[in-house]
């Protein structure tokens, strides 16, 4: 790159940052600057071990913990909001700055890139807040020259509601919710629930039998062949798990139709304008009440329509967002055009449940969205 090209690129980026800052401010957002380095514990607990593999982590010798370079802004901004005067208030923030991620093969994506976005807390009219964030992010992209990006939208509240609504034990629901983010495992679990329990291994059969012994703890310990009890997990942990296993073994298979409904809901994809009808038909056909979350989707799409974005131009994908472990409602992503490769230009979603894990007394309405200015400039050429 010549020095003239470098100067031009820097000027374009500075202009882009200024436009986004002005846009976010005019929409009532307070600019914040979370630290680049964040305590690793909170972030990794929320993102899971897979993101840890993509984070830059180093020891924090002073506090005997670990620090990481922020992999995004959502968690740091949410933590900052909760640590301030508390969760019970509405607030809207904006940010612009670099985030850092190790990239898996192939090494085509940058390790450090800008994100510019907003996070909003406490808006009780959730569909309106979802639509406002989505419209604002679209406007931000337009300000960088991307007028007609292709948007995919989803709503994780709907599959989660279906898991809660169909007939099965609470422990199976917990298992499905937990593995929702790992579609392969989720699909296997759901299929396994429809079948009779497999023949137990000899050890498993002996373990379940040991629960009926006069002294179950001694009987379970006797199965271990004299192996020393090392580690934190003790005989009580094993007995607890054995009781859960016994309950699970006694559970009848769930109905094929129940599993089929969950899979069918996750397979709904197409123009967002048709999604509401398709989802209602599936729920009605299965005799399951999903009116709450489907109404929410309908109201959100109406609010997006009222903001001047026609729902038929949005692609709905009910399974979208399954790699983003902290979202639990509306999710979206915008690429430059349908089928475009490379990272999305923008994305975001709703994460009310995460606020509880960060210390809120109950789920606080929380929704955000971000733009990648460098990618947007490259795609739009403003």
């Amino acid at each position: 790159m010549t020095s003239a090209e470098a100067a031009d690129k820097a000027a374009r980026l500075a202009e882009a940052r200024a436009r986004l800052a002005a846009l976010f401010a005019s929409a009532g957002h307070v600019p914040v600057e979370p630290a680049h380095m964040q305590p690793a514990g909170v972030l990794l607990d929320l993102y899971g071990e897979d993101i840890r593999g993509r984070s830059f982590i180093f020891p924090d010798n002073e506090r005997l913990g670990e620090l990481c370079l922020r992999p995004d802004f959502t968690v740091p901004v949410a933590v900052m909001h909760g640590d301030g005067p508390g969760w019970d208030r509405a607030a809207a923030y904006s940010y612009i700055g670099p985030v850092f991620r190790r990239q898996e093969v192939p090494m085509q994506r940058p390790l450090e890139y800008l994100q510019a976005g907003v996070e909003r807390f406490g808006d009780t009219d959730r569909p309106a807040a979802d639509a406002a964030v989505f419209a604002l992010i679209r406007e931000g992209l337009a300000a960088l020259g991307v007028e007609n990006g292709h948007a995919t939208v989803g709503d994780l509240g709907i599959p989660f509601a279906a898991i809660s609504a169909v007939e099965m034990s609470e422990s199976r629901r917990r298992g499905l919710r937990r593995h929702f983010w790992r579609p392969g495992r989720f699909h296997e679990m759901l299929a396994a629930y429809t079948r009779a329990a497999p023949e137990p291994t000899p050890m498993r059969a002996a373990l379940l039998a040991a629960l009926d012994a006069p002294d179950p703890a001694a009987a379970v310990a006797g199965l271990a062949n004299g192996a020393a009890m090392v580690g934190l997990r003790d005989i009580d942990d094993i007995l607890d798990r054995a009781r859960v296993l016994k309950e699970e073994a006694a559970e009848p298979p769930i109905a094929e139709e129940a599993a089929g409904l969950i899979e069918a809901i996750l397979a709904v994809a197409g123009p967002a304008s048709e999604a509401v009808g398709q989802l209602r038909d599936l729920a009605t056909g299965a005799g399951v009440d999903l009116a709450g979350p489907i109404d929410m989707l309908e109201r959100r799409l109406a609010a997006i329509d009222a903001a001047g974005i026609a729902p038929e131009t949005l692609e709905f994908d009910a399974a979208f967002g399954r790699n983003l472990e902290y979202y639990d409602g509306f999710v979206f992503e915008i690429v430059s055009r349908r089928g475009a490769s490379g990272p999305p230009l923008a994305g975001g979603g709703r994460y009310d449940a995460m606020t509880v894990r960060l210390g809120a007394p109950g789920p606080v309405p929380a929704v955000g969205g971000m733009i990648r200015p460098e990618a947007a400039l490259a795609a739009g050429g403003a």
């Binding site: 840890r52 937990r178 192996a227 997990r233 942990d237 798990r241």
Partner: protein
Amino acid sequence: MPETLKLGLPSKGRIQSHTIDWFAKRGIAIERTGDGRDYSARALGIEGVTPVMLSAGEIPRELAAGRIHLGITGEDLIRDRVHDWQRRVVLAQKLGFGDADLVVAVPAFWVDVETLADLDAVAARFRARHGHAFRIATKYHVLTRQFLRSHGVADYRLVDSQGATEATPLHRTAEAIVDITSSGETLRANSLRALSDGLILHSEANLCVSRTARFGENARRALDDLAGRCGLGEVPVG
């Protein structure tokens, strides 16, 4: 002095003596030079080869960076330590020693945990009772993460352990481990047991070729000579 073929060899341990024997059978004598406490060596019986004594753990990185042309190290280390390894290193030949299984192991008295699915279920319940994430100690971070992800195990934290990994459950610094085992003796001695579906990789020592090193005329000639004697096929090198 013309550029020679740099051959990275393990600087100590059983893998070093096996390596020296393996080359000796092919007419190449690796001799330590100096007073035996430094790490210099020479190769007799072949032209243009310079042995470089390195810790076994450094050989993958040196191969990936192209600072050595060839190296002897375990497949486990290549796969774990070298980012995008297929692009950087060729596992040219298995050497028939240094056999080891990389396994997921748990305390043997966990009679309720036989499989990865059990491990996942236990990890899910662990935090509520013990106040922190389920910890798995290992030095094989990349292979462990890939394996657990592909088998749908969640809610764990990796804890780095560069030595005495088998003792971490006893010392309560981890709940489970991922480590190499050859006979299972060390696992048993530490009251651990591998999961029935917990084999991540069967590894052995390999003669590895760097895809990033520059092979000059001399190095190329030495490689061809070595390849002929060691029965390597055509080696794709730059």
